[in-house]
C-alpha cells in the first residue's frame, strides 16, 4: 500500500470529499494519516465543519478504532519562507524579499515553483520520522488539483530540475520526483458515471502513464441507487397505463379513473422513469468504458441527505468495506 495517496478528479466530482473519506478510512486501528490540501480552498475545513485551517498540522478527526486524521492546508508563501529559513537562515531577509515582491514572484509567478513547494511539503511529510525512527504518518493523502492539471502538477519537479540545472531547487526537485515516481505513491482519479468526467479520467490516466507517474484506482463517486433495473424499464414500456393507475389507486393515492388523482400521476411518473432509463443506459455505457481502463474500480453512493460529517464517515466505512485501505 503506497504511503502517499494522491486524489484527483474532474471539477465537480467530489475529489476533496473522497480524499477526506480516504484519509479517514486509512486511519483505522491506531493508524495516523495526514490529509493535505494544496489549492487554498479550505475545502477540508468545510467538510470537517471546523474553522479555516492554518499552515500547521492539526488533528481534525478521530477514526473508529482510535486512528487519527491530521490536516494541513499548505500555504505556498509560508512554505517558501520555511524553506528559506531551513536552508539559508533568512529570517529578516525573508521579509525584505516579500516586500520586493520576490515571494509573490516565487509562489505565484515563477514557472512551477509554487507546485514544487506544494509537492515538496507533502513528500517531506511522507518521509518524516519521529525520534524512535517510526514514520510520523502512516499515510499522507493529498487533495490534488483536478485531472486536467494533475500530471503537470506532479511532474513539475522534472521540469524545474531541467530549468534550474544546479542549485538547491534542482536538488529538492529531484528528491521530490524520486518519491512521486516510486511505489510509495499512487494517484487515484475520482469520476462520475457521466460522459465528460469519464472521458477526462481516461485522458488523465494516459497522461499520468506517459509521465511515468503511478496510477492507482478509479473511484466512481455519487453513484445513484438502482431503483429500477433493465427488466423493470422494459415493463414500464409494456404495462398499460391503466394498470399503473389502478395500482396507485390501490395504494391510496386517489381515483384510477380518467381525471382521478391517481390517474393524473401516471404520466409524470412514467416520464420520470423514461428519464431514468436514458440515464441508466448512459451509466451502464460509462461503467463499461471505465472497466476497460483496467484499473481497480470502486463505487461510492450518492448520499441522499447531501454531504455532511456523518456522510463522510459513511463513505469512509464504504471505502474500508471495499478494501481500499
Amino acid at each position: 500500500m503506497s504511503r502517499l495517496q494522491v486524489v484527483s478528479g474532474k471539477g465537480g466530482t467530489g475529489k476533496t470529499t473522497v480524499a477526506a473519506a480516504l484519509a479517514l478510512a486509512l486511519a483505522t486501528e491506531g493508524k495516523r494519516t495526514l490529509l493535505v490540501e494544496v489549492e487554498g480552498r479550505q475545502g477540508i475545513a468545510q467538510l470537517f465543519e471546523t474553522e479555516a485551517l492554518p499552515y500547521e498540522e492539526r488533528k481534525i478527526a478521530v477514526a473508529p478504532g482510535g486512528g487519527e486524521v491530521y490536516a494541513l492546508a499548505i500555504d505556498p508563501e509560508l512554505a517558501l519562507l520555511d524553506y528559506l529559513q531551513m536552508f539559508y537562515k533568512l529570517g529578516g531577509a525573508g521579509r525584505a524579499l516579500k516586500k520586493l515582491g520576490a515571494i509573490d514572484f516565487a509562489t505565484t509567478i515563477a514557472p512551477g515553483l509554487r507546485d514544487v513547494l506544494l509537492t515538496g511539503k507533502a513528500c517531506e511529510a511522507v518521509r518524516r520520522k519521529d525520534k524512535s525512527g517510526r514514520f510520523a504518518y502512516d499515510y499522507v493523502v493529498m487533495d490534488a488539483p483536478p485531472t486536467g492539471r494533475v500530471t503537470r502538477f506532479l511532474n513539475v519537479n522534472d521540469e524545474v530540475a531541467g530549468l534550474a540545472k544546479i542549485g538547491p531547487i534542482h536538488n529538492q526537485a529531484q528528491a521530490v520526483m524520486r518519491v512521486l515516481k516510486s511505489k510509495e505513491t499512487a494517484v487515484h482519479l475520482v469520476t462520475l458515471l457521466e460522459e465528460m468526467p469519464v472521458q477526462e479520467t481516461a485522458d488523465g490516466i494516459a497522461e499520468l502513464r506517459a509521465a511515468r507517474l503511478p496510477v492507482g484506482r478509479i473511484i466512481v463517486n455519487m453513484v445513484r441507487p438502482e431503483v429500477l433495473d433493465g427488466e423493470d424499464l422494459e415493463l414500464v414500456r409494456s404495462t398499460p397505463r391503466s394498470a399503473v393507475a389502478k395500482a396507485l389507486s390501490s395504494a391510496g393515492l386517489g381515483g384510477a379513473r380518467r381525471g382521478g388523482n391517481a390517474e393524473k400521476l401516471v404520466d409524470p411518473l412514467v416520464q420520470q422513469a423514461e428519464e431514468y432509463a436514458v440515464r441508466y443506459e448512459l451509466e451502464h455505457e460509462q461503467r463499461s468504458v471505465l472497466g476497460d481502463l483496467g484499473l481497480p474500480l470502486h463505487e461510492l453512493p450518492l448520499l441522499s441527505e447531501g454531504m455532511d460529517l456523518a456522510g463522510l464517515y459513511e463513505l469512509a466505512t464504504e471505502l474500508r468495506k471495499q478494501e481500499i485501505s
Binding site: 515582491g101 397505463r241 412514467v270 440515464r279
Partner: protein
C-alpha cells in the same frame, strides 16, 4: 460566519424565501449594445456548454457571434464542428437564420507566441521564442492561461468583426483567478523585481540609493543561489528581450480589465444547485460587485423538477411499501372494471392502506396485477428519490438567494445525457431562455 455555512435544513417549505427574480437572457443577447458576455463559475458546472449554447442562440436570433472556449470537452467541440482547433475563429456550419456563429479554442502558447511575433522583429522574436524560461512560461505556468484568455478577448474585440463575443473562463484553481492572474503576470513582467533582476545597477544609479543597491545585489545573489545561476540568466535574457520589443504588459492587462468593466460587457455566473458550486458563485457575485463589473445574473444548470411534485417523498414511499406488501392475489373488478372496490376515495388526504392479509402462497410471477403493483412501487420509489433531490436543491438555492436576493436567476433543467450536436446546444439554448426548468407537457387524457 457566512450564511451558507448554516447547514441546518429549513424547517419546512412554508418558510421558503420569495423566489429570486428571473433572468431573461433573450433581451440580453438581442441587445446590440451587448458586445461581450463572460461565463464564469467553478469547474464542472457546464460553463463551456452554457457559453456555446448562448452563442448559438444569439447567432440564430440574428447576431454575428464568436465563442471563445478555453478547454472544451472533445464532444462539445465536435458538436460545433470544430474538432480541429487552431486558435482562429472558425465558422460553425448549419446555423439557422441570418446570423453567424464562429467558434475557437484558446491555444495559450500560440497566443503568447503571436504577441511576441507581432511586436518583435524576426531575430528578436526567435531569441525570445527559444528562451527556456519563455518556453516554460508560455506553456502554462500559473496565470498564463488566464492572461492569454483575456488577451485573446481583447484581440477579438479590437478586430471588431463580431457584434457579440461569448467567452468561457479557464478552469482555474478558483473561479476568481482570471480576474487576478493577468494583473499579477502583467505587474510581474513590468515590475520592480524583474527590473532588479535584469539591471540592478540602473536602479542604484543615484547616490541616495546606494544602501538599497547593496540590499539588492545581496538579493539577486540569493535568488541566483536559490534558482541556480543559469535560470536567473535565462530570466534576465528573456526580460531584456521582451522589454525592448514591447513595453507595457501591464498596460495591456489594464486595458482588458477596463474592457470587462465597460458597458456592453455582461457577466454570467454559472453554477449547479450544489453547495460548493453555489458557494463559489456567491463569492464571485461579491467579487464582481467589488470590481464594479456588470453582473447580468446567475445561470443555474442541472435543476430538477417534477410534474408530480404534489406527491411528497414520504407519501410516495409509504404507497410503495403498501404495494410491495400486497401479497394476496387481488379480487377486483376483473370483468368490466365497474366495481371500483380497490379505488380509494379520490383525495390525497386519505392515507389508509388497503387491507393486506398474510401471504397464502408464493406470488405467481406471471400475475399481471402483481407485476403492475411492483412496477408501480418502483415508480413511486423513483419519485421519492426525485423529491428528495428537489428539496436538497431547493435548500442550497435558498442559501444563495438569502445571501444575494438581488441576483436574477435562469434555471436550466437537467438533461439526462450529454450534448453531441447543434440540436442539443439549441435545446439548451431554449432552456436557458425559458429561465426555469422546462418540464414535459402535462399528460393529455388520451389513453
Amino acid at each position: 460566519m457566512s450564511p451558507d455555512q448554516d447547514r441546518h435544513p429549513r424547517p419546512s417549505p412554508a418558510h421558503r424565501l420569495s423566489p429570486a427574480p428571473r433572468l431573461d437572457l433573450d433581451p440580453l443577447i438581442d441587445d446590440p449594445k451587448t458586445r461581450i458576455v463572460v461565463c464564469c463559475g467553478s469547474g464542472g458546472v457546464g460553463k463551456t456548454t452554457t457559453a456555446a449554447a448562448l452563442g448559438l442562440r444569439a447567432a440564430e436570433r440574428g447576431r454575428k457571434v464568436v465563442v471563445l472556449t478555453i478547454d472544451p470537452a472533445r464532444r462539445l467541440a465536435q458538436s460545433m464542428g470544430i474538432d480541429s482547433l487552431d486558435n482562429t475563429p472558425r465558422r460553425v456550419k448549419d446555423v439557422e437564420g441570418e446570423g453567424e456563429l464562429h467558434a475557437m479554442m484558446l491555444d495559450m502558447k500560440r497566443t503568447f507566441d503571436e504577441i511576441v511575433e507581432a511586436h518583435a522583429d524576426a531575430e528578436r522574436a526567435a531569441a525570445i521564442l527559444n528562451n527556456p524560461f519563455y518556453q516554460s512560461l508560455s506553456a502554462g505556468f500559473a496565470g498564463t492561461q488566464e492572461y492569454m484568455a483575456m488577451e485573446k478577448l481583447g484581440q477579438l474585440r479590437a478586430r471588431d468583426e463580431w457584434d457579440l463575443i461569448v467567452v468561457d473562463t479557464p478552469p482555474s484553481r478558483s473561479a476568481l483567478d482570471f480576474l487576478d492572474a493577468p494583473k499579477r503576470l502583467g505587474s510581474f513582467l513590468d515590475g520592480r523585481l524583474i527590473r532588479l533582476l535584469t539591471a540592478p545597477a540602473k536602479l542604484g544609479g543615484r547616490a541616495g540609493m546606494k544602501f538599497l543597491n547593496v540590499g539588492m545585489s545581496m538579493m539577486t545573489g540569493t535568488l541566483g543561489k536559490l534558482l541556480g545561476g543559469q535560470l536567473l540568466k535565462d530570466v534576465q535574457t528573456f526580460v531584456a528581450a521582451m522589454d525592448t520589443t514591447f513595453g507595457g504588459f501591464r498596460t495591456r492587462a489594464d486595458a482588458t480589465y477596463k474592457l470587462l468593466q465597460a458597458p456592453g460587457t455582461a457577466f454570467l455566473v454559472v453554477a449547479a444547485p450544489e453547495r460548493d458550486a453555489l458557494r463559489e458563485a456567491a463569492y464571485f457575485v461579491e467579487r464582481l460587485a467589488a470590481e464594479r463589473m456588470p453582473l447580468a445574473g446567475l445561470v443555474l444548470n442541472r435543476v430538477h423538477g417534477s410534474d408530480a411534485d404534489r406527491l411528497s417523498a414520504e407519501r410516495a414511499l409509504a404507497a410503495a411499501e403498501t404495494l410491495e406488501n400486497l401479497e394476496e392475489p387481488r379480487i377486483v373488478d376483473q370483468e368490466g372494471g365497474k366495481a371500483g372496490l380497490r379505488n380509494s376515495p379520490d383525495t390525497y388526504g386519505s392515507s389508509e392502506a388497503p387491507d393486506t392479509s398474510p401471504a397464502s402462497g408464493p406470488d405467481s410471477p406471471v400475475d399481471p396485477e402483481r407485476t403492475a403493483d411492483l412496477l408501480t412501487a418502483g415508480l413511486l420509489r423513483l419519485h421519492a428519490d426525485r423529491m428528495h433531490l428537489l428539496s436538497r436543491e431547493q435548500r442550497t438555492r435558498d442559501r444563495f438567494t438569502a445571501r444575494h436576493p438581488e441576483v436574477a436567476v435562469a434555471e436550466v433543467a437537467a438533461l439526462p445525457g450529454d450534448v453531441h450536436d447543434l440540436a442539443g446546444l439549441r435545446d439548451i439554448g431554449n432552456r436557458l431562455a425559458a429561465g426555469r426548468p422546462e418540464l414535459p407537457e402535462p399528460g393529455t387524457d388520451a389513453g
